[in-house]
Symmetry: C2
Subunit: 457 residues, 2 copies
Amino acid sequence: MSGNASELIDKLGVIVGPSHVLTDPELTDGYVADWTGRWRGRTAAVVRPGSTDEVAAVVAACGAAGVAIVPQGGNTGLVGASVPHNGEVVLSTRRLVGVEVDLVGRTLSAGAGVTLADAQRAAASAGLVLGIDLGARESATLGGVVATNAGGLRVVRYGSTRSQVAGVEAVLADGSVLRRWTGLVKDNVGYDLPGLLTGSEGTLAVITRVLFRLADPPADVTTVLAGVPTLAAAHDVVARLRHHDYPIEAAEYFYNEGLELVCAQLGLRRPFAAAYPVYVLCEVSGRDVESVAETLASMPDLVADATLDAAPAERLWAYRESHPEAVNAAAAERGVAPVRVDVAVPLGRHVDLEDAVRDAVTARFPGVEVVTFGHLAEGNSHTTLLGVPLEDADEATEIVLRLVAERGGSISAEHGVGLAKRQWLGLQRSDVDVATMRAIKQALDPRGVLSPSTLLP
Amino acid sequence: MSGNASELIDKLGVIVGPSHVLTDPELTDGYVADWTGRWRGRTAAVVRPGSTDEVAAVVAACGAAGVAIVPQGGNTGLVGASVPHNGEVVLSTRRLVGVEVDLVGRTLSAGAGVTLADAQRAAASAGLVLGIDLGARESATLGGVVATNAGGLRVVRYGSTRSQVAGVEAVLADGSVLRRWTGLVKDNVGYDLPGLLTGSEGTLAVITRVLFRLADPPADVTTVLAGVPTLAAAHDVVARLRHHDYPIEAAEYFYNEGLELVCAQLGLRRPFAAAYPVYVLCEVSGRDVESVAETLASMPDLVADATLDAAPAERLWAYRESHPEAVNAAAAERGVAPVRVDVAVPLGRHVDLEDAVRDAVTARFPGVEVVTFGHLAEGNSHTTLLGVPLEDADEATEIVLRLVAERGGSISAEHGVGLAKRQWLGLQRSDVDVATMRAIKQALDPRGVLSPSTLLP
């Protein structure tokens, strides 16, 4: 993008207004790198359209000029999918705002640039709940949440983002606007295009508006933080709570190593006088705190100690949610680059996977710290390796991903593929599978206008 | 298929064994027409492969010969999608059998030819439940259930079929085998191909094996049949049960006209001494029959009379489930062809839709009987018109579908498009939408091997 660059930039300025086309490196800097600092690209322009029509015109103009686009929402992703690796134009969706709740239809419609937290607050104001939550809620935008089929803390209760999408409006690679917007539970009229766009990581369309199903908020939520002897015991605690018919609203876990980092780095007080190998952070609903305490007391073989709170229990959640920040701070302190993986395995293989990862990684990289936390109900581990030499990061990642693939797991449970996992797609997806995905990409974006350097190898 | 027909038939015989290639019209007769008698095609051969590899070889051989295929399961569909309209080879999946339940992973894997009822029984034997149910359960096969994203009686509780599919094995149009089979809740590695194949009506792949998530069976189910004054009151009964925190396991409705047909045609006794305009058939769980009776007694403004049963309450379900049979029998008796539509609208428009349909249809076709039953929670009406002249069937259908589309509804809530609704796709899907679906079809089946005459216009 050099010869006709200024011509395209002028054209984009006409479409969105010159003040919404950023070319000054000082202004574009926040758009060309991800927040972890792992990915950094370059761009000639960041375009900030303010409506679906403007998005359509921007996509059409870039397509006509043969310039590729990377759509970007809150830029909170972890796999480099929103970074302009090869000089793509960045199409920021943050100006696509506006939230509306339909109380009769029990849906929330919003622009792609609305943050998850703003959408949660809009739902709550209407006495309902949006069943999607994740740590980056204040920055992550709904367009990105849908484009990445975001997982997070409430999948155990509401399923993934895809199962909550009731409608999508999106601009396709040729600049046309696709709209499926009935909000209906039953609508068997053709291929599930909203489901296909959900999780397509910006490679098939730029999502401009979304329609989510809302739910009734759970009654009588109790938050539990419990110390347990093993990861297997952590799973058993959740199983027994289920057996007692508690609706599980969240089920997280972390290890003592992580808790120590969190307390040291962020100055939190330890939750218990003693240290336990594993901690379960769990939300249940439907009964009062006393009943939950009684239920936990009935499993002394599993629960060594527990502290309970009526929700909202930010005090307890802080131990779990501060993990990413504490790990980053520890990495900076030690002067090492953290190697992060996000994987899932069938529940019956979860304990075995984490043992195998710890063994294999420390055998190959003696002295490396393995810090893991994650989501119990989906066998979803977020593992960070601290101390792997930078040049060995790919090797360390591959060690973990191979152990996952051998166990029938997912090499990316909820963060997506992006650039980070692209080279390992074949560990989990067959040649036929990859060829099928490529055929769909080719059919919907024959000129490679949308995020051409991510997802598919 | 004439010149090389016998050559292809020989080839198919080599692949599946000659006894599994049916060419005698006496044997193929049950495969070329649907059970309603509305659709009748013709075929040179019905092929009955016994494994995924055989399906792959059959598809490849037909593709090489330039002969199209229509996959067929239990042939219980209502939109003509499993009928060889243009002389296609019928690929019957009924020999793809075998069911297995994984108690740890809480999944059921099965061949595409297993009936829904057999899968339900396998899940029940393991103490779990498959959250899909519909009237044709003893004949409908799992491959068809997935290919049509079947709806039915349990969507209110478990969502549609798509949300319960945890894995799919399918043969693509070029004879290659696609397999996504992790069973994981979180697996963000590329496009959602299982979700795309679910509901694609045999046009993108032949589904050969399926993996479903199972659930715990509900405790303390009570079945309620209640007489209410209006459809609005029927919705209110469900809303109040929800307000009392009852999990709703099913929520059906029908009218007195339908009940009279059922009782007259099938010799059932009327459930109540008096007649009521509308009946709600509802299953709730989690509390005993006495509590449910008390709750119903607390809404005398809505519930005129009610009868309750601990599940299984076939006695009560018979009134609702006999509707299709009774309507067919009544049509035969009156010597008319029934015009059936399956539609859904946003809940807030449901009462208005049914009023508008009755008014519009009887204004255009005086004396026509309108018999409606359906699923309350999804605003899903199954309406049959009795007495429309055969040559006016399309006009009558279009009157209903236009009223649905004007209300933001679905012209096919759960039966799919097939040949029945193809001409009206544009009422609900935009040109961009249809073009996008066509691009996907073209990308995955460029030679039109799979069900080329259904779904897309």
